[in-house]
């Protein structure tokens, strides 16, 4: 009934027009910076690979996104939650300059992460290189009859 009403009164649900708009936004973002989506993912992995050399990163909450105001203004915005260093934890060498500003804002979740050794391990072993190899392995699997 609501459906009928909303259709009668012209308040259509999300149709293919909205999908078209989303897809266009996505494709133009990459066209405009001349970096296709796959390459962008590679870049993100490489950025992370560098960061995890120095910091413990909560990989699940990493956000690296391209923000585009218009055709000529694009910026890469990264939010990379890092574990704060607690003396009790199995300490990892951290550069003298200390953690970036973001770390100061680290919330409870990050602190917990630092306490939880297994979580740290998981984050470490899930390095982009490993992830890539894992993917390559999968691909191999696929090829097997």
């Amino acid at each position: 009934m609501t459906n009928l009403l909303s259709r009668l009164f012209g308040r259509a649900k999300k149709g293919s027009g909205a999908t078209a708009k989303d897809r266009l936004r996505f494709v133009l973002q990459h066209d405009r910076i001349n970096l296709p989506p796959e390459r962008m993912e590679e870049m993100k992995s490489e950025i992370l690979a560098v960061i995890v050399k120095y910091l413990v990163v909560d990989k699940d909450r990493v956000e690296i996104d391209l923000e585009q105001r218009d055709r000529t203004h694009s910026k890469l915005v990264a939010e990379i939650p890092v574990a704060i260093h607690t003396p009790s934890a199995n300490s990892k060498p951290v550069a003298d300059s200390g953690a970036p500003a973001d770390a100061a804002e680290s919330n409870g979740a990050d602190a917990e992460l630092a306490d939880d050794d297994s979580a740290v391990e998981a984050a470490k072993s899930d390095s982009p290189k490993d992830a890539k190899e894992a993917k390559a392995d999968e691909d191999e699997e696929d090829k097997k009859p």
Binding site: L8, G10, A12, S16, G17, A20, V27, L28, D31
Partner: protein, 265 residues
């Protein structure tokens, strides 16, 4: 500096550049302007048939550029308007026969005698597009409310800006109001949000455009045609008039009017 050169471009092919050029030419002429339209799509001559002038061609753009004909000899006068002329493209040559510098020289000559010089650009981003772009004072970008056409328009817009010819203005052609209402087509607002250029025309899908191209009488000359009216409005905006966008709804039924009230729009 006299007349103004307006180039009609698109990126993607088949979106309505030639249709737009022909109709703008006629509308501007009917507004009392002196107009010449140039078909820059060398090898794929089309503007002549759309304007119904195909059987009057003697010389073409390449003949002028290569000095075989005087400019005046290659200009074909429209049947209905004494101040509307066509310079046809060569049909058997390729785009390399003309250079951007040739086009600038030609346009500068025409500026002395005409108010508007409209250039129908070929699709693509290569030589033909460069030829059409180089002499432009203003660029109109035709697109359809469709993913691939808008994407290609964005590419062209970037190139136009890089060539210091921007910002262009948009003509959104073949809009189907019914589909937009159902959420099944990009609206003109969507296209504006994405491309960020001001819109100079919203042209509805209209079967009369096909009959017009069959008969060689552009649709602006047909009072019954919504597309024709919309093209006429584009021409008036081009000459600087402030024309509101027309309501493309057929006859809004009682339910639709109620819906508008209820939804507050």
């Amino acid at each position: 500096m006299g007349g103004k050169v307006v180039t009609i471009s698109s990126g993607k092919g088949g979106v309505g550049k030639t249709t737009a050029t022909a109709n703008l030419g006629i509308s501007l002429a009917s507004l009392g302007k002196k107009v010449v339209v140039i078909d820059a799509d060398i090898g794929l001559r089309n503007l002549d048939v759309i304007m119904g002038l195909e059987n009057r061609i003697v010389y073409d753009l390449v003949d002028v550029v290569e000095g075989r004909s005087k400019l005046r000899q290659a200009m074909i006068k429209h049947k209905k308007f004494d101040d509307l002329f066509l310079i046809p493209a060569a049909q058997t040559r390729d785009k390399m026969a003309v250079s951007p510098e040739d086009m600038v020289k030609l346009a500068n000559e025409l500026r002395e005698d005409f108010d508007y010089i409209l250039i129908d650009s070929p699709a693509g981003i290569e030589r033909g597009f460069r030829n059409a772009l180089e002499p432009a004072d203003e660029v109109l970008i035709v697109t359809n409310p469709e993913v691939s056409a808008v994407r290609d328009a964005d590419r062209i817009i970037g190139l136009i800006e890089a060539a210091d010819k921007g910002p262009g203005k948009l003509i959104i052609n073949r809009l189907k109001t019914e589909l937009v209402k159902k959420g099944e087509m990009l609206s003109s607002d969507d296209v504006f949000d994405i491309l960020g250029l001001s819109i100079v025309g919203i042209i509805p899908e209209d079967e009369l455009v096909l009959s017009a191209s069959n008969s060689g009488i552009p649709v602006t000359l047909n009072m019954q045609s919504k597309a024709g009216m919309a093209f006429n409005n584009v021409a008036r905006r081009v000459i600087g008039e402030d024309v509101p966008f027309m309501n493309l709804d057929e006859n809004p039924g009682i339910l639709q009017r109620l819906a508008k009230l209820l939804n507050g729009r």
